[in-house]
Symmetry: D3
Subunit: 270 residues, 6 copies
Amino acid sequence: MSDYKAFRVELKDKIAHVVINRPEKLNAMNADFWTEIIDIFRWADETDEVRVVVLSGAGAHFSSGIDVAMLAQTATKFGADAARNADLMRRQILKLQASFTAVDECRKPVLAAIQGYCLGGGIDLITACDMRYATVDAKLSIREVDMGLAADVGTLQRLPRIIGDGLARELAYTGCDISGEEARSMGLVNRTYADYDALIAGVFEIARVIASKSPVAVRGSKRMLSYMRDHSIADGLDYVATWNAAMLQSADLRVAMTAFMSKQKPEFAD
Amino acid sequence: MSDYKAFRVELKDKIAHVVINRPEKLNAMNADFWTEIIDIFRWADETDEVRVVVLSGAGAHFSSGIDVAMLAQTATKFGADAARNADLMRRQILKLQASFTAVDECRKPVLAAIQGYCLGGGIDLITACDMRYATVDAKLSIREVDMGLAADVGTLQRLPRIIGDGLARELAYTGCDISGEEARSMGLVNRTYADYDALIAGVFEIARVIASKSPVAVRGSKRMLSYMRDHSIADGLDYVATWNAAMLQSADLRVAMTAFMSKQKPEFAD
Amino acid sequence: MSDYKAFRVELKDKIAHVVINRPEKLNAMNADFWTEIIDIFRWADETDEVRVVVLSGAGAHFSSGIDVAMLAQTATKFGADAARNADLMRRQILKLQASFTAVDECRKPVLAAIQGYCLGGGIDLITACDMRYATVDAKLSIREVDMGLAADVGTLQRLPRIIGDGLARELAYTGCDISGEEARSMGLVNRTYADYDALIAGVFEIARVIASKSPVAVRGSKRMLSYMRDHSIADGLDYVATWNAAMLQSADLRVAMTAFMSKQKPEFAD
Amino acid sequence: MSDYKAFRVELKDKIAHVVINRPEKLNAMNADFWTEIIDIFRWADETDEVRVVVLSGAGAHFSSGIDVAMLAQTATKFGADAARNADLMRRQILKLQASFTAVDECRKPVLAAIQGYCLGGGIDLITACDMRYATVDAKLSIREVDMGLAADVGTLQRLPRIIGDGLARELAYTGCDISGEEARSMGLVNRTYADYDALIAGVFEIARVIASKSPVAVRGSKRMLSYMRDHSIADGLDYVATWNAAMLQSADLRVAMTAFMSKQKPEFAD
Amino acid sequence: MSDYKAFRVELKDKIAHVVINRPEKLNAMNADFWTEIIDIFRWADETDEVRVVVLSGAGAHFSSGIDVAMLAQTATKFGADAARNADLMRRQILKLQASFTAVDECRKPVLAAIQGYCLGGGIDLITACDMRYATVDAKLSIREVDMGLAADVGTLQRLPRIIGDGLARELAYTGCDISGEEARSMGLVNRTYADYDALIAGVFEIARVIASKSPVAVRGSKRMLSYMRDHSIADGLDYVATWNAAMLQSADLRVAMTAFMSKQKPEFAD
Amino acid sequence: MSDYKAFRVELKDKIAHVVINRPEKLNAMNADFWTEIIDIFRWADETDEVRVVVLSGAGAHFSSGIDVAMLAQTATKFGADAARNADLMRRQILKLQASFTAVDECRKPVLAAIQGYCLGGGIDLITACDMRYATVDAKLSIREVDMGLAADVGTLQRLPRIIGDGLARELAYTGCDISGEEARSMGLVNRTYADYDALIAGVFEIARVIASKSPVAVRGSKRMLSYMRDHSIADGLDYVATWNAAMLQSADLRVAMTAFMSKQKPEFAD
């Protein structure tokens, strides 16, 4: 893999492991983080061998969120005209959002493995993933409200579709901490694990299952589920019919059928 | 009722009981199934006496999903031109979708009672119903991923609105089995029952309650809830005001008022 | 506060406490209720000192819903022409909806504290609030179906986004009672409390936390979350970037930053 | 062709000519009309040999709109309950709409050739076609306003997308007549012709051009343009990419390329 | 009529004539204008006798747009915090928009008669009307660009639906003047007249035609056309079916039928 | 400017002139074209000095559309599996679309000056521009239908919003040529000019007018008009209020006011 400053990336057995790698800074999201994450997920998207991605944090925590120094720096670019400052700020926010949109739009499933702190930007990041798993004692919090701002890189957009409108509001307005176990009972994370080792073992087990499936089927399913966050059921049915019109001429369908008939495990091409 | 090959249909006490009736084939969905289901739900929709529908499977299972022979047959119709094949396939998928849209658009509530296997197309079918009930040990699974394709007759469209985005993705990508009890904890089924007899008894009890209500009120509520899956809150408020503009001149309102004042049980016309 | 007939309103420590105040009528929603609630929430919206609103019911119950006398009265205005009656009815419903839209659109978070009965219009009202809290033995029910009509002042529109599609349908079609505790397990209320005193104490504690946060951040978060009920993720990201373009030039951001650096509690202007 | 009462249908040189054939009744739309039109356009949709459809009226007029006897008959089915009448009426309107939706959704382009009167339902019908052509002295009018009702089978839905919002409103509120020439200057018809013979000759000339093109390309274009009436540009770009993913493996592309290179006229399979 | 400062209002023969009445100020839109217009159009909406509204300007001009003094005054309310200023400004703009939304949402058609200048806010106003008519030498211009701001009370929202995307952009970016005649060729105004007297005579003639039609039919048509600016064709068809479910039980339908049969002019109740 | 192979780019007097520069190939769009256009419009977007862009073609023609060699090359990448080919093709189309989306999303207005041929991809390109101007004898044609495919880089998405649904369909299905003058009468181009020199002079004159306006106002107007192609009027009004909340604190507003009061020409900062 290429040499990253804020990440460590491994590819083994068709699973890409993307690790936020600034443990001494609680994996705070600095300038390197925001640019490298785009390259990494573009690579994961385009590399046929990558079937699924696991995203975790090095050290004791997943991430403490955006590096405060970055926020402070933006203010230094402000000039005298409020409108031109606003334009500058708007484009800056859109740029940060693009980093997590790269995660969201990666055609392969992304599984977040969360231990320790997952704060502020950390929540924005995990809501851009497909699924979330945590240690029982992880600490999650929409911390932006404490910085005097409304979260603007994805949490407020994606969270209500995962946990419903009522709980999302309490988390956003109060900035309160919840444990991994509370997150599970809300549906924010799918499962919890006793500790970090169990978490990583469990998430890789799920990743291995996904990696063994037809990549055509998995990517098609991801595209549909992402599409359905924003479209009507009628639109979704039409879209999947159009999509599968091409995809059902796939070799994977024949491989699956043959395996099913012969009661053997299918092997799909990348 | 008319003579169906893949179903058995009964109407008693204003409740239509629609039973998938190919127990020797685990209620797999064959060609008869896909055409008859449209006729049955059109009949349920148009027959005033039907106030509510219960949908279940004969024998030990709800349904093992689409008959694999049907899938295999489609491929035999393919010609030499990939574009014309795609067009053929697209229309074929749209046609299958129409079978479950008939369930979704039936103006009467449809309650699914699920025991044993509910796999692949079975999940597509139950997500097109209003509510779902299961035995604790039912086995549910989005099996399409194992056939090398993205589910295309409704699961990926309707499921996230029922159980949220995070859990839906895990089920779709892994094709893992969940029990009735797990399905309940996710919100996929509303209640579980110890065994099949308790399930049927429980579901019919709920059906009887619904059948005793004003049909004008129940159908209006169904229309609104279906509408809200795809429309904004402002659109929904406008639509319900327009709908009720006519419906509030209903005799049922007077019947209900009178019953309420006299503390008696109201009797509504079909 | 101004003199209301159906409400009692207090403002203390930046928290407005709005109490439905017709305990002898189980806080049924009469004509005064529907007009005064608009004035009260407009006041709460425009008064900078109000940071958060708690909504509760005086006496043993939250509310038994719309005053039946009001419904009966509408019918007396009907003339001979069904179309003109429908037009009259449609405008009447739109007017009632506007009363709860005033709650929904109040820029400050609204917390409902629910004890005893919360029936019919009571459910319409609490779904227009940001968050809901209840005593374990509260009794909640979508009662409209028993009056022969589809709920038309907000329940059917807002409820599915809070508890999902499957459970919402059962509540709407059956009109069955659920307890506070059942409501919590569905996600309809966020937390339950043993009794009324604990409920009020608990809800005010949450309100105090919210009142201590940056009002710019809290209002921005509310706007975003309300916006996301109806818009795509891409639209939401663009909107929050545009919103924050101005809002990030806020003094609150500097206050929060300074407090964060000095590890002190920030004090935000109204 | 099958034997129709309200139509005459011919297929020649890959062009289906569908003629409303009740000239003695000014081609008023009776019960036969509304059911047969569905069969005819389903046939046109499914018959590969049909590449394009021309729709015209026998005799001196295109159509005087819905048969007034049909409207009158509906009222005779009304019972005592306004709500149940409304439900009946709503379903009746949806059924009429489905007849013109069959025209709209036919995968082959439909060209309307308009002479003489085109009134009321006639306008609903031609706005469901792809393109419209008329004699200079044709008389077009949204006549529904004169029957005391808002047009409900498509005119108000489709017209503004063709001629813009301002002119559509004048036509709808006043029910005034416009000539073919005025219709052309508004963009309602694409071209005008001096008389009926010139009209038919001109429209068939355009139909022949379309029939000579790749059917894969023409149908794809129609699907896209219909889709764009209701979707965002971003959605449209995604949809066309998904559609063409399959369709660009078409033999037609190779046929066209070869013809282009050799400067010959391509011949496409149906 | 009540006593207005910025307007003169007359009601005669079921036509309300609303005249902007500050000719000495070129009918610039001052504070009185923005509040009175809401009252006037609410009155027009609720008064059954009003069947149609004509909107014109007293003196030589329609309107020179927003009173510059008003804009200047807003700036004086600004405080030190850019975020709180932005919040103030946003609410101020929403309030101005509400004034023209009252015109847009009036259930009766509104016809604008335009002579002389129609600049800036004048364009925002006329695009909120149903139809526009002008003298050949009227001068229309989107003047906001010259004040250093994007038009924010409706022009940029409503204009493209009237004249298409390409011409709207040229007018908005350049702020150039166009004559009434040029406006007509773009579809911005429906017809032009030689001078003011001909304009008023012509517009009242059209208004009289509309006033003679069934008010149930005209209002229904307006609701549908407004609805279609923002909804899909499928949504529009469903909505009109639901609307007409009630409205087709109208006395107007019988009146129209009877008149049609007896070839007499129908007389509709308000 | 940087060194481009397929373009020539000049910046003078705040106007960027982007010239497609392969006159010997009729400005056919080759691989260089598709990548360089992204860089150029990103540069135009980010360079404050660029206020407006003029896009034209070197030599006798605007552009003959996509280079056929490029299309042919794609086919060579196809493998044995139709599904994987479809995936490859879909991503390829999305990539081409991104090139013209860069034009569409450039924050500065883009004016297309069209002479000679503007075919196929040329139409896709000019519909992504803000405004279009042409010589009277230019030749425009949606040529994709002749290549056996539905246009997939923007024409079918953007054209109907410019010229309406009826004319767009005729152009798309027939692939017929229209002259500049016919394009003007349809609203596809805003104005025509006698010859190339007059065209360039005329377009630059319009560009100069736009360049003299407040850039804050022009960019805001462009954002709003682009937004309105896809959003409801209510959404648009909310968005512009949020946008202007920040932008009305602009220095440009003061500059414009002062100039207006002193009747002088304003000078705005970039």
